[in-house]
């Protein structure tokens, strides 16, 4: 190709370069970036943790708390967590400028408080999940606060009483 022809094409096409840091990036409507978890809507149920293919979302229990940790450095931006979230708390944003000089800057934590079983005091579920379950189903808060083992015990006792067993 002759230089004259190249110059002719260059004059016709003009500048194609995106001047990115000074110009907005080329984001299509389908682009998926990092996720954002809404702290006021998340239950801490762990549905996103179960579905996450690379284990970027993890639930880390520590004493009275359980933390939902999002490590963006392992996220593959599939958006499956947003799809399964029962509370609609996860939003897929268009954020892609995630670079960091330290790997700890890539971790975000959402700390949930755990409720305790009213019988044995063992940690059961998160406060937000308990509230959501009580709101959505006809069980009382007093019943919901008991751990599964003591619920079973209570149920067995109730059945035994009805069948005529003594105390």
């Amino acid at each position: 190709m002759s230089v004259a022809k190249i110059l002719e094409i260059a004059a016709r096409v003009g500048r194609v370069t995106r001047r990115y840091p000074y110009q907005p990036p080329l984001l299509t409507p389908e682009f998926r970036g990092s996720i954002r978890v809404d702290p006021s809507r998340c239950w801490g149920c762990g549905a996103c943790v179960r579905i996450c293919p690379p284990n970027a979302l993890t639930l880390k229990p520590s004493g009275k708390m359980v933390a939902l940790e999002y490590f963006v450095g392992r996220c593959i931006f599939c958006g499956m967590c947003a799809e399964v979230c029962p509370a609609g708390a996860i939003e897929v944003t268009k954020e892609f400028e995630l670079s960091a000089t330290s790997i700890e800057d890539l971790r975000t934590r959402l700390v949930h408080r755990l409720t305790r079983c009213s019988v044995c005091g063992a940690p059961t579920w998160t406060e937000a999940e308990l509230r959501a379950v009580v709101k959505a189903s006809p069980i009382t808060e007093e019943y919901a606060a008991i751990c599964p083992e003591h619920r079973r015990e209570r149920f067995a006792k109730a059945v035994a009483l009805r069948l005529g067993a003594g105390e």
């Binding site: 194609v16 370069t17 995106r18 001047r19 990115y20 840091p21 990036p25 080329l26 990092s34 702290p39 006021s40 998340c42 801490g44 293919p53 690379p54 284990n55 970027a56 933390a67 490590f71 963006v72 450095g73 392992r74 996220c75 593959i76 931006f77 892609f96 400028e97 995630l98 670079s99 960091a100 000089t101 330290s102 790997i103 700890e104 800057d105 890539l106 971790r107 975000t108 934590r109 959402l110 700390v111 949930h112 408080r113 998160t126 406060e127 937000a128």
Partner: protein, 166 residues
């Protein structure tokens, strides 16, 4: 272990960064995005970045892939061949945290583990910038490179938020 004045070295190479592309077993998506960043469309050469064929000529390694066991000795040799200061741009979720291969038997799971292996064999890495993305966008590569050179502010901050009461 010798120490290198990274800030001084960065001032010296600011307008001509020679990059070497090192693939440690990635799926090729990040590699294609690296090529994309070098095309006239995104044109990383605006900042003086130029692809070179040998780590001995390179200022920055564009590191992709989760470091497969097969590639590990070659990766160590390539990083060892690099002159100081060793600046590394870990591109893609695989290179940053192991990505989808985080617990596979045949990979060591990202740059963090590789850094430990390099330190054990006496190879120091002076500065690393982690660029998440699957694959990384060409813009994200440019952003990471500018962050490495100190031209842009870091946006990502680790955070710990408690769920509100009630």
């Amino acid at each position: 272990m010798s120490r290198v004045n990274v800030a001084r070295a960065l001032r010296a190479i600011r307008r001509s960064i020679w990059v070497f592309h090192l693939n440690s077993g990635s799926c090729n998506a990040c590699d294609i995005e690296v090529l994309d960043a070098l095309t006239p469309y995104f044109d990383v050469e605006r900042f003086g970045a130029k692809l070179v064929a040998s780590p001995r000529h390179a200022d920055v390694i564009l590191f992709t892939g989760p470091v497969t066991r097969e590639s590990l000795p070659k990766v160590v040799r390539a990083v060892r061949a690099m002159p100081r200061p060793r600046l590394i741009l870990a591109l893609g979720s695989c290179a940053v945290g192991g990505g989808i291969w985080w617990d596979t038997y045949s990979t060591i799971g990202g740059f963090k583990k590789l850094e430990e292996i390099l330190r054990e064999s006496g190879i120091e890495v002076d500065r690393v910038v982690y660029v998440p993305g699957c694959p990384v966008r060409p813009e994200a590569i440019i952003y990471g490179l500018l962050l490495l050179l100190g031209a842009v502010e870091q946006k990502a901050r680790g955070s710990e938020v408690a769920v509100p009461e009630g």
